[in-house]
Symmetry: C2
Subunit: 257 residues, 2 copies
């Protein structure tokens, strides 16, 4: 099989109907086997508010009690995932929407409730992802589109971090063919000055990253994303790029190597 492109889009793209349509058009044009992973945090927060379910975030991660699990399952696996699938089909891209439970493709382990009980939140071991099912879909010209809802194999769905899902799936994809991972979001990439889009840092190595963290240029929200990028690189993913969602087809952004 040819190289596999694994793309992750975040909540800001999904929340903006025009940006999402534009992204979907670009994604449909990407050549070769490809996989999409999406988040969708803001819509879940809005839906929780409408349903009067309190949202609790600890260190940027959603505490997922049973009621919140229902909300994220509805919003991520239902509303957002199927909206994206319908839009992709309209662009001639034959996509299939998946949670980890579907075809048992990704099992997750509920996070240890000590020291912080995040509830129905899971972590993924990339080694346990069923890459043969993914390979079969890609081989049939079908594009898997994952939301970040996985399962424990015991009947429970688990809410996972979408960046970690993307990294884990890229690692699994790299067992099929060389895999390139692209994190798409609302910024041009990693910026030396967050308010200056022209201050793009084009390349980050482990050494540069250590310096950027030390100097505080890389801030809290970006650290797990870059950590996931390095984890992917060290686990067999060929390349990782962090870029603006509108630049999917353009060779730009921050390359992690």
């Amino acid at each position: 099989m040819k190289n596999i492109t694994v793309v992750k889009i975040g909540g800001n793209v999904i929340d903006d109907a025009d940006a999402l349509k534009s992204f979907v058009k670009d994604f449909a044009k990407l050549e070769g086997p490809k996989i999409l992973i999406h988040g969708g945090g803001k819509e879940a927060t809005k839906m929780s508010a409408k349903l009067e379910i309190p949202t609790t975030m600890i260190e940027g991660r959603r505490v997922t009690d049973a009621a919140t699990l229902n909300v994220v399952t509805m919003v991520y696996a239902g509303l957002i995932n199927k909206r994206i699938i319908a839009l992709l089909q309209a662009e001639g891209c034959n996509a299939i929407g998946l949670t980890g439970a579907d075809a048992n493709v990704v099992t997750a382990t509920r996070r240890n409730p000590v020291p912080i009980d995040y509830g129905y939140v899971g972590d993924i071991d990339p080694a346990k992802i069923d890459d043969s099912f993914i390979a079969n879909l890609l081989g049939s010209g079908i594009v898997p589109v994952f939301c970040a809802i996985m399962h424990d194999g015991k009947g429970n769905l688990l809410n996972c971090n979408a960046d970690s899902v993307a990294s884990s799936i890229a690692i699994a994809a790299s067992r099929i063919a060389p895999a390139d991972l692209c994190f798409c979001f609302e910024k041009a990439g990693v910026l030396a000055d967050i308010d200056d889009p022209t201050s793009l840092i084009r390349s980050i190595t482990a050494d540069i990253y250590a310096g950027l963290k030390k100097s505080g240029v890389v801030n809290k929200g970006m650290i797990p994303k870059i950590d996931n990028a390095f984890k992917a690189i060290s686990s067999g993913v060929r390349s990782v790029t962090i870029k603006y969602s509108g630049d999917l087809l353009v060779d730009t952004g921050t390359v992690i190597s």
Copy 2:
């Protein structure tokens, strides 16, 4: 391929957590290739009420405006479908949840808005169902689980009647192998006296059906279900049974022939 069993479960089973778990255990035990189709009307109605979206029903069918389409997509394709998938996986049944948009497996046509505009409601032509994708899943030992959300191929999701979806998918399945369709619901089958569970009518032919309609024994809600059953039979489905959801593994119910 062996015979394919196509099972439809209705909203009353889904609304009752214990009944659903029990049904899932039975369904997992069914031997051979199988397909599940589920409705889920009541949870969508409850969710619409919580979100203060008015529910309008005309002749037992939900009028689906854009806000209602979002609700049914969330509830059917997200909450209910993925809950069922996780439960099936826990029973060792490797299931995959699908809308018609996924892998472009079922396209639907938006219903003519004249004389009644039902909004985003679609009807399915069984001839247009991609039975090769379904055959591939079944051949890999994977069980497709459909909710009643389909798409028009132009980017729009469409809400369909779950009984019609079941009938259409059974017709498509019968192009792969002999297919048996089973409608599971809260009654023992078609009853001569709706208040007497022992008054089961064991067999209904077209002649018997005409008589039952004339005498009023078959009432409004049951007519579309039996019409779908006869449509399936006349389009190649080998058998259709209407039975209690707790009797999936028992040879009982009303056989339509």
